[in-house]
């Protein structure tokens, strides 16, 4: 059984260590906040200028001046701090943020990522994604392994306009957990329960490296 989006988020949450400053992108990455293991305390960075992002406000307590980078109303927490956009990207560029989790439309076997533009169709812009992937020391991509047409999104080379080059080292999909090797190639680390290595091979257009037995992903 392929993983749901919630299960992808739950698996990624296991990668988070106590004390991390973490930037979560929009989509599956946002869900990761719901699965932070007990005893692990992290600080969420929202690139519009907040460290220490709290949960959504209670009904009636929304504050138009307090939003996250997805423009959702949120809250602060004890220890939160507010700053301007230049400082926000300053701390990202200076690698003060320990972990960045973001979505992707395509990832290549050498770690390139495309997630901001479909020429002629979608022209929303890159937001902070190019800054994040160019500077973050530790990036996990949460994405679908195959698109709705059944085509692989893990490719030898990205076909869409790039967001960043040679910057992605780990990918978690509905089918598998993979590392991207510095010499190129997706190294299969774990598979979703009941998903065969053969199916992952068929679903990965980029070079897949399989060594030994591949364990099933554990969520807890």
């Amino acid at each position: 059984m392929a993983f749901s989006k919630e299960e992808i988020a739950q698996r990624i949450a296991k990668e988070i260590k106590d004390g991390y400053y973490v930037n979560l992108g929009i989509g599956i990455p946002t869900l990761v906040a719901n699965y932070i293991p007990k005893g692990i305390n992290i600080v969420l960075q929202s690139e519009n200028g907040l460290l220490g992002m709290g949960p959504f406000p209670f009904e009636g307590e929304e504050d138009a001046d307090l939003i996250n980078a997805g423009k959702q109303t949120i809250t602060t927490l004890p220890g939160s701090s507010i700053f301007d956009s230049a400082m926000s990207f300053g701390m990202i560029r200076a690698q003060k943020v320990d972990l960045t989790i973001l979505g992707a439309m395509e990832v290549s076997e050498n770690g390139d990522i495309a997630n901001w533009k479909i020429p002629g169709k979608m022209v929303k812009g890159m937001g902070g994604a190019m800054d994040l992937v160019a500077s973050a020391k530790n990036i996990i991509v949460a994405m679908q392994h195959i698109n709705k047409a059944g085509e692989s999104k893990l490719l030898p080379n990205c076909t869409l306009p790039l967001t960043g080059v040679k910057c992605i080292r780990k990918v978690v999909t509905e089918l598998a957990v993979l590392d991207i090797l510095t010499e190129g190639g997706f190294k299969l680390l774990e598979r979703a329960p009941g998903v065969s290595v053969d199916f992952i091979k068929q679903s990965t257009l980029g070079r897949l490296v399989v060594e030994g037995e591949i364990p099933e992903m554990q969520l807890n």
Binding site: A64, S85, I92, M130
Partner: protein, 232 residues
């Protein structure tokens, strides 16, 4: 002392003429200079180049200026929530320069700090890098990006004083302080305008030297783009 206080948005923007470049603070609809935007909509100033992280929504913020075709060019990082914007872009009526958000903020900062350019890794190896100078520092490539050159900056603050000092509230700070520093003429609209001396100097986010005109805005709508709540 020079009088920086003006009566309202109409007076503040009186010399923003067709074809100039303006910066507008805000992230999404949070912390946007609502009064100045409405005054520009009423004045129907045309052929503007707008530097702003986002382009508003169809019926609020910069979206109102787009609807009247007042904008010749947008320089933004994310413009996803505006159907009219997308239509004008795809039909070629609107010039758009999409740039990384950190690059946008830091190009403002550079202008306010008197530095002609910055080096950033954002966009290296992508179409953003096309035609730009690349420098290698310690084995890593960086793009040279120029400081912005904007005729006017329109910013929104929470509190301000008659000396032009500004204090922002919560995440409505966003691009406002760096844009305030970057405009050749900076216009600040504030929710509460007080006499010089009433704000604690230690609490000032933007020193008044960067602010040329200031007024107390009115009728703030402060529209929420994504109202997300949890149950009690």
């Amino acid at each position: 002392m020079i009088n920086k206080v003006v009566s309202g948005a109409e007076e503040a923007i009186h010399d923003i003429s067709d074809g100039v470049t303006i910066m507008l603070g805000g992230f999404g609809l949070c912390g946007i200079p609502e009064n100045c935007i409405n005054a520009l909509v009423a004045k129907k100033t045309k052929n503007l180049t707008c530097i702003s992280n986002n382009a508003g929504v169809d019926d609020f913020g910069i979206g109102l200026m787009l609807k009247q075709r007042q904008v010749k060019k947008m320089i933004s990082s994310y413009v996803g929530e505006n159907a009219e914007f997308e239509r004008q872009l795809l039909s070629g009526e609107l010039e758009v320069d999409l740039i990384p958000q950190g690059t946008l903020a830091t190009r403002c900062l550079a202008a306010g700090y008197g530095m002609p350019a910055i080096f950033t890794p954002a966009g290296v190896g992508t179409e953003v890098a096309e035609g730009k100078e690349i420098r290698n520092f310690d084995g890593k490539d960086y793009l040279m990006e120029y400081a912005f050159d904007a005729d006017f900056a329109l910013v929104k603050a929470w509190k301000g004083d008659t000396a032009g000092n500004l204090i922002f509230r919560s995440t409505s700070r966003n691009f406002n302080p760096v844009m305030a520093m970057a405009g050749k003429t900076t216009i600040a609209e504030v929710e509460e305008l007080v006499e010089a001396g009433e704000l604690d100097p230690d609490h000032i986010h933007t020193p008044g030297i960067y602010v040329h005109r200031i007024f107390q805005g009115k009728d703030y709508e402060k529209r929420i783009e994504q109202r997300t709540v949890r149950k009690k």
